[in-house]
């Protein structure tokens, strides 16, 4: 949607300045320094969201798994950055092939340079648009890791992530955002990634949680967050980075970016309040983890709507988003019994679904003339397109993730053994410990090394290389 907007704006501008008898001067694209600055800074803000997510998730696991959880987000920054440059960007945004996928014309970023691409963003270098989109691909893959935390083996995780980004994220981004993508052609609106980012990661996370099965001892022993302040710091940084995510999706330093910024903050605030209030009523205590999670749920919910709704509807989107996600996490998950460890589906799947529906309800041309009116502004057609896009994302992400996990499961073992889970993934997958509770001096460590013939591979008694 963002891209069509820029296209039409550029066309409008060119018509404004076109004088009779003169050639169409706007054919030579003009870079706007303000827009370029804004998109680069927004890219950096969105990049920060993935380390923020690492802290958000890391605080919620037990201390024996905090490093493995942080590592999953951190290594995804590296992994997807390289994938995107080599093939990801061209699959997602390259010249359309049959409304389903981008062609390979921009393989290795061939032809993606300093000149703007008017199809996507006519006032910034094409590479600025590319790198902004990269940050979305990174965070989306990282969001999934919350569902299979504390039990997935690192090699299987790497293989799953690279396949998922290439075979699920890249096509989906093409469908929704690329020129001639079929969901975009349908008229569905997704300003910053309600379907592409949040529903896709949430649903894929749910499938991964089901395929991997529950953590050892789930339901019988408490698995409490080991560091709630770390999680709250992560939530705060996510909120901060989300301004780049949503306002940056205007792809220009303009009124639309400001509007997206305002509704983003409003919805996050409203959802933090509603989650806290609902949990307080339900369980008798206003928890800090609840306030932080509520804010994230509100940010998820406003994401698809950010460029199309006014501040008052954003309050409603946030209030409902916080409450609905709370029900998903505290009631639905407990009833159905799946082990979505850190609620990737509960927050992103459910919050993203509500946001995509809410866009169909509250979108208004008064906010963004290049968007559309929603149901409450007399246009039921948009809601229909939204629902089709939601269903398509659920089915595609769910089925594709299932197949990818099964294929990865053939190549390597998906799950840590019971013994590895018991010892924690930090030691068994990475040979490190986040917090050294016991004083282990050189002499004691040496004893362990001598006792184990596998000392060359790992200095931990239960270590396992790959």
């Amino acid at each position: 949607m963002r891209t069509r907007l820029m296209q039409i704006m550029l066309l409008g501008l060119s018509m404004l300045f076109a004088l009779p008898g003169l050639a169409w001067a706007a054919d030579a694209p003009k870079i706007d320094t303000g827009d370029t600055t804004f998109v680069l800074i927004s890219s950096a803000l969105v990049m920060l969201m993935t380390p923020a997510l690492a802290l958000f998730y890391g605080g919620m696991v037990r201390k024996k798994n905090v490093l493995s959880t942080i590592m999953q987000s951190f290594i995804i920054i590296a992994l997807v950055s390289v994938q995107w440059v080599l093939i990801g960007y061209t699959l997602a945004f390259g010249p359309d092939k049959g409304t389903l996928i981008g062609g390979l014309d921009w393989l290795g970023l061939t032809g993606v340079g300093a000149d703007p691409n008017a199809d996507y963003a006519g006032t910034i270098p094409h590479q600025a648009f590319m790198v902004f989109q990269l940050m979305f691909a990174i965070i989306t893959a990282a969001l999934i890791t919350g569902s299979f935390a504390e039990r997935m083996r690192f090699p299987a995780f790497l293989l799953f992530t690279i396949l998922w980004t290439t075979l699920v994220y890249d096509p989906l981004a093409h469908w929704v955002w690329a020129v001639n993508g079929w969901i975009r052609n349908l008229g569905a609106l997704d300003f910053a990634g309600g379907t592409v980012v949040h529903i896709s990661s949430g649903v894929s996370g749910l499938v991964a949680a089901l395929v991997l099965g529950k953590r050892k001892g789930h339901g019988s022993e408490p698995m409490l967050p080991h560091h709630v302040p770390m999680t709250v710091l992560g939530a705060g940084l996510l909120w901060f980075g989300w301004f780049g995510f949503n306002a940056g999706s205007a792809l220009g330093a303009n009124g639309l970016a400001v509007s997206a910024f305002v509704v983003t903050n409003t919805a996050a605030a409203a959802a933090a309040l509603s989650w806290t209030a609902v949990e307080w009523l339900h369980r008798g205590k206003p928890t800090v983890l609840g306030a932080a999670t509520g804010a994230v749920a509100g940010l998820v919910a406003i994401t698809p709507a950010a460029g199309f709704v006014a501040p008052l509807p954003a309050v409603v989107i946030g209030l409902v988003g916080g409450a609905v996600c709370y029900m998903g996490v505290a009631v639905l998950k407990a009833k159905l019994g799946y082990d979505d460890a850190l609620d990737a589906f509960g927050c992103h799947g459910i919050g993203g679904t509500w946001g995509a529906i809410a866009t169909g309800l509250f979108a208004s041309k008064a906010v963004n003339s290049l968007g559309n009116d929603g149901l409450f502004y007399g246009n039921p057609g948009l809601l229909k397109a939204q629902i089709i896009s939601i269903i398509a994302t659920y089915v595609f992400a769910g089925v594709a993730s299932f197949i990818i996990l099964k294929v990865v499961g053939v190549v390597c073992k998906l799950r840590a053994t019971g013994e590895e889970e018991e010892a924690g993934l930090d030691i068994t997958q990475h040979g490190e410990e986040a917090y050294h509770d016991a004083i282990v001096g050189g002499s004691l460590l040496k004893g362990v090394l001598e006792a184990k013939p596998s000392a060359g591979k790992s200095n931990q008694p239960v270590g396992q290389g790959f």
């Binding site: 408490p222 409490l224 967050p225 949990e279 339900h282 369980r283 008798g284 205590k285 928890t287 983890l289 609840g290 999670t293 709370y326 996490v329 505290a330 009631v331 407990a334 609620d343």
Partner: protein, 112 residues
Amino acid sequence: MKKIEAIIRPSKLDDVKDALDKYGIRGMTVTQVIGCGLQKGHTQIYRGTEYSINLLAKIKVEVVVKDKLVEDVVNLIATTARSGEIGDGKIFIYPVENAVRIRTGEAGEEVV
């Protein structure tokens, strides 16, 4: 020689430490422990799920004293650590066979 092992409320540690110091006890070992007794636990709530926590944080103070001081020291700890509510803790007394000061190698009751 006896070892007096007192499990007390964390909030009473300073009072107990000061009282022992005033009485003339020079050495002690303090450990953070968790445990349960008559006191009920509490519930914690994470994302709408309640967990009951039965093991509560306590402080373990260990002091080794000469036999003749045992009664005084036990009374001292019991009175300073007491709030009168359930959860004040317990004191255990064990016989100690010997004690050695590592620096000098001397042994016996005189080193405590």
